[in-house]
Each structure stands twice: as C-alpha cells, then as structure tokens.
C-alpha cells in the first residue's frame, strides 16, 4: 500500500470516524448539561433570542468596530476563504464525489481558488498575530489555540503547495495533515466550528427571556 493510499483510505476513514463521533459526543454532552431553571417570569421569547443571538454576532457592533477591525477582517477573510477552499476547490469536490458523497457540484476556477486561499491565509495570519500581540488575547490563549492555528495553517499550506497536482507525495502530505486535523478536532477549540451556535444561542436565549434587545 502506497503512502498516499494509506493516508487517503484507512487513516482518513479512521480520522473521519474520530472527527464525527468525537464532535457528536461533545455536542450531545453540551446539550445534556441543560440550563439552570429560570424562575423569573419570561419577558420575551427564549427561542427568538437564541436565533437573534446567533445572527447578531455576525454583524460587528459600531462602538467596537475601531478596536476590533483586525479581528473582524481577519475572521471573515479566514472563514470565508477556508469554506470556499473546502467546498469549492476542484480537487476537494472530486474527493467528496469519489470517496464520500457520490455527487459533484461546480468548482471554483483556478483564479477563484487562488484568491480564496489568499483571503484564508491573510485572515489566519492576522488572527494568529493578534493572538500573541493583543494583551487580552495573549492572556487567554493557551497551547491549544496555537496548535489549532498552526495545524489549520499547515493543512491549508500543504494543500496549496500541492496545487500543481504533479507529485503524489505532496498530495499525501496534505492528506496526512488533514487526517491529523480531523483527529485533533474534537479534543480542541477547533470544536468552536460546531459549538459556536450553542454558545451564541445560549447567551441570546438568556437575554431573550429577559426581554433584552440584542
């Protein structure tokens, strides 16, 4: 079995299983914690607050915009770029089609891929720099944050280095980092990708019940 075949098949399926089961386990665990009973009479809808809390956080607040513009630009640049790469890069669509889903969809043209990658890299670098430059972020960041950032960076970097698609080993290195990333995901703050809506929603629902406008 070649190294490429190993990282694309047995190791990938193992990593995907760890990713799915681990992420599901943690989400269910969070939901099972529940919430403390609120004995005060509700002045508004908790459900509406849950939804509003999720949506409101996507829009930066004016009073903080000047202080947080690096975070905002970096955050949006990275996440949009990453999702564009993940879902619309031609090699990824081919992989999803042939190995997982059995369906295909239109891919980004090469120039679109390059621009998405540049947004993703620029955003990730800005966010990581902020992590050790900003005094508050530096205090609350730990090794898990840095490993998550670097692992994501290496997944993206190795993928882009294999863009010429002319050497199997480059593709295999990319897949190896993807596998490691998937295995690391449930045990790290990368989990925010699937738990962010719960935390935002929890805050939003609490405020919603109190009748506060978000």
């Amino acid at each position: 079995m070649s190294f490429l075949k190993f990282v694309e098949e047995p190791l990938f399926y193992f990593a995907a299983a760890v990713f799915l089961i681990g992420a599901l386990w943690r989400v269910i665990g969070i939901i099972r914690i529940g919430r403390k009973p609120d004995l005060a009479p509700a002045k508004g809808s908790g459900t509406a607050g849950f939804i509003a809390g999720n949506l409101r956080h996507f829009v930066p607040r004016n009073i903080f915009a000047k202080r947080t513009w690096i975070h905002i630009i970096g955050g949006y640049g990275f996440h949009f770029g990453l999702f564009a790469l993940l879902l619309f890069a031609a090699p990824h669509i081919k992989f999803f089609d042939e190995r997982i889903l059995g369906i295909s969809w239109p891919a980004l043209p090469r120039w679109g891929f390059i621009i998405a990658a540049q947004f993703a890299f620029a955003g990730l670098i800005m966010l990581w720099v902020r992590r050790f430059s900003d005094p508050v972020m530096r205090l609350i960041a730990d090794w898990d944050d840095h490993i998550s950032s670097w692992l994501t960076f290496l997944v993206m970097l190795t993928g882009c280095l294999a863009l010429q698609e002319s050497h199997d080993i480059l593709k295999a290195i990319h897949m190896l980092f993807v596998d490691v990333w998937l295995i690391y995901f449930p045990f790290s703050r990368l989990m925010h990708a699937v738990t962010f809506f719960l935390s935002r929603g929890y805050t939003g629902a609490t405020y919603g019940r109190k009748g506060m406008t978000l």
């Binding site: 890299f121 720099v129 005094p135 280095l161 002319s166 050497h167």
Partner: protein
C-alpha cells in the same frame, strides 16, 4: 455521458485550432536556407561541413531580428532573441553564483559581530515601567509582513538556489517535488506581500523621513563609536531599513507581477530583466532582514518587546530613542540618562509618531 461528449468536442476543436495555428505560424526556414547535406556520407568531399554556402549568415540575421520569418504574436519578427543568452549568463555567472554567498556572508558577519560585541544590554537594567511604542495595528502589520516574507524567502531561495545547493544533496527527483511546491507557494503568497507592503508603508511612513539628528546618529555609528547617539521614534538604521523595504518591496512587487502575469508585457526583455531585478532585490531584502531579525531578537535586550507587547521599558526608550521619549512624555532626560519620574513600576500610554 453528455459532459464526455462536450469534452470530446472541445478537445477536438482545440486540436484543430492548434493545427491551423501551427500552419499559419510556421517557423520553418525557407527552402533555400537549408543547404546542409542530408547525410554524413554526403558531407565528405564538400568544401566544409556546411556545404557550399554557410548557414551562419542566415542564423546571424535571425539572431539580430530579421523580420519576415517568425511566429506571430509576442516579439513579431524575432525568432531568436540574442539578449536571452546575456540574461542566461548574468543569471548564471552573477546572481546564482553570488547570491548564496552574500547570505552566508551576512550570517557570518552577524555571528562575528555577536561574538565580539555580545548582546547589547540595557545599561540601567529594566526599570519595570513601560511606555507604548507600537499599536496593535502596527504589530499586526509587521508580523503579517514578516510571515508572508518568510514564506516567500524560503520558497524563493528554493527556486533560485535549490538546483545548485539542494539538488546535489537530496537528488533531482526530490528537488523537483520541492521546487514544484515552492513555486506554488511563492505564487500564492506573492500578492499578499503587496498588500502587506502597502499596509506597512501606510502605518510606518510617519516618522521615517530623514532628519539632521540621523546624520549625527550615523556619525556616532549608532552609539558604537563616539558615545550615546540620540534618536527619535526611529533611528537612522531603522529608517534605512524602512526605505530599503519600500524600494526593494516595490521592485519585487512590480517584477513579481510581470513574472506571474507574463502576458502583461509584449517584450520578452522586460521579463528577463524582471527575473534579474526580482532576484537581486529579494536577496538584498533577505540579507537586510537577517540583520533586522538579529538586532530585534538576539542582538539587543528589550527590542523585541515593542513588537510583541507593543510596550518598551522606559530605560530602553531612554537609551535608544531618547528624543522620542522626551517628545511623547514631555519629560527631559537628565545628563545621567534618567528621567525625573519616580521609580515605581507602571505603564504610560503615550502617542507614537505614527498612524494608529
């Protein structure tokens, strides 16, 4: 099935197009230009190896741009571009030959300097009091540029020098893989360098124009000779580095764009010049950056703080940027190099002479 059919039609159309283009743009020499005997046997007995008529004149005319026998499109009327040979020689005999040694030489000089001078320590030690030197935007722009620059430097050096420095060690096959990866990475991060450069220049240009005090700083060798050298927010060395980044970065950006999008220029000479300028500017910037990294980390105590936390120790500010310290605090520094403030630890938020 349908997309296969479409692909087959497209492919066939492409083949036909290339055939028709090839016949319209034939580079075949005219019949009378070829006068060599067909076989080795026929050549024996002729006056020279080229037959009765030399081909030299014909090819010489082509080398010097004889029109009428060429392809269409870029460089009409030019089959052989003579400057290409000059470009190849310049690249091989100067850039490839010396650029690696320039970088090795700079590293050797820095090691030697460190061994002789050692780390430049704070004479008065750390005071425990700090003042702000760079905002979060400055630090982010700086590290954004640094990250992109390091990626480009590594990938660029792999492309430029890998064949002569790395391929003999790891083999041509392994180097081919690294070169492919480096090329993709270099092209990807290149445009980010331009964005980083614009951001960096916008934030750092205030305070980086030369003043008389910079000449005094230079005359004292930055404090190495002739005692303490006063400096504002940026000293002469930092200003030279800034302008080197601006000019070198501009050269790299413009030539990089031309190399990534070669169809932007009609004349091949621009692309050849671009590779030379790109290489020289890049090696120069990397060499300068090595010195910058040295002095910012190992070479000088307290310097790195300004780019990590954004704050510097007051003693560092007084020793290395006394005029800036006086300007932003409004406190004169006495002759012993101390301000008149109390000794309690703390932090002073001050305005920097730059955009925030």
């Amino acid at each position: 099935m349908l997309h296969r059919l479409i692909a087959a039609i497209f492919f066939t159309a492409l083949m036909l197009m290339s055939l028709s283009t090839a016949s319209a743009q034939s580079v075949r020499p005219p019949a009378n230009a070829v006068n060599q005997p067909d076989s080795e046997q026929e050549r024996v007995g002729t006056s020279n190896t080229l037959g009765t008529q030399s081909q030299s004149d014909y090819w010489r005319a082509l080398r010097h741009g004889k029109s009428g026998i060429s392809t269409t499109g870029r460089n009409d009327g030019l089959l052989i571009q003579s400057q290409g040979e000059d470009w190849r020689l310049i690249r091989k005999q100067y850039i490839l030959k010396y650029s690696g040694w320039v970088l090795v030489g700079v590293i050797a000089l820095l090691v030697l300097f460190f061994l002789i001078r050692g780390r430049i320590r704070l004479k008065g030690g750390r005071s425990g009091k700090t003042i702000s030197r760079f905002s979060l935007a400055h630090r982010t722009a700086h590290w954004f540029m640094a990250s992109v620059f390091i990626m480009l430097a590594i990938s660029g050096l792999l492309i430029l020098l890998g064949r002569i420095a790395l391929a003999p060690l790891i083999g041509k096959g392994a180097y081919a893989i690294m070169a492919s990866a480096a090329m993709q990475g270099h092209n990807l991060f290149g445009p980010l360098f331009i964005i980083a450069l614009i951001w960096l220049v916008w934030l750092f240009i205030p305070g980086n124009f030369l003043k008389m005090v910079d000449l005094k700083w230079l005359a004292k060798g930055g404090g190495l000779i002739g005692g303490h050298a006063s400096a504002g927010h940026y000293n002469f060395g930092e200003k030279v580095w800034f302008w080197f980044v601006v000019i070198g970065g501009l050269a790299i950006s413009v030539t990089g764009i031309l190399l990534e999008f070669p169809w932007l220029v009609e004349n091949l000479l621009f692309l050849q010049l671009s590779t030379i300028v790109h290489g020289i500017a890049a090696v120069g910037l990397i060499a300068f950056a090595l010195g910058h990294i040295y002095i910012g980390t190992l070479g000088m105590e307290g310097a790195l703080d300004s780019m990590t936390t954004g704050d510097v120790d007051i003693n560092w500010a007084i020793e290395h940027h006394d005029l800036w310290y006086e300007e932003v605090t409004g406190k004169p520094i006495n002759k012993s190099g101390e301000d008149s403030d109390d000794d309690s630890p703390g932090h002073a938020q001050v305005y920097t002479q730059s955009r925030s």
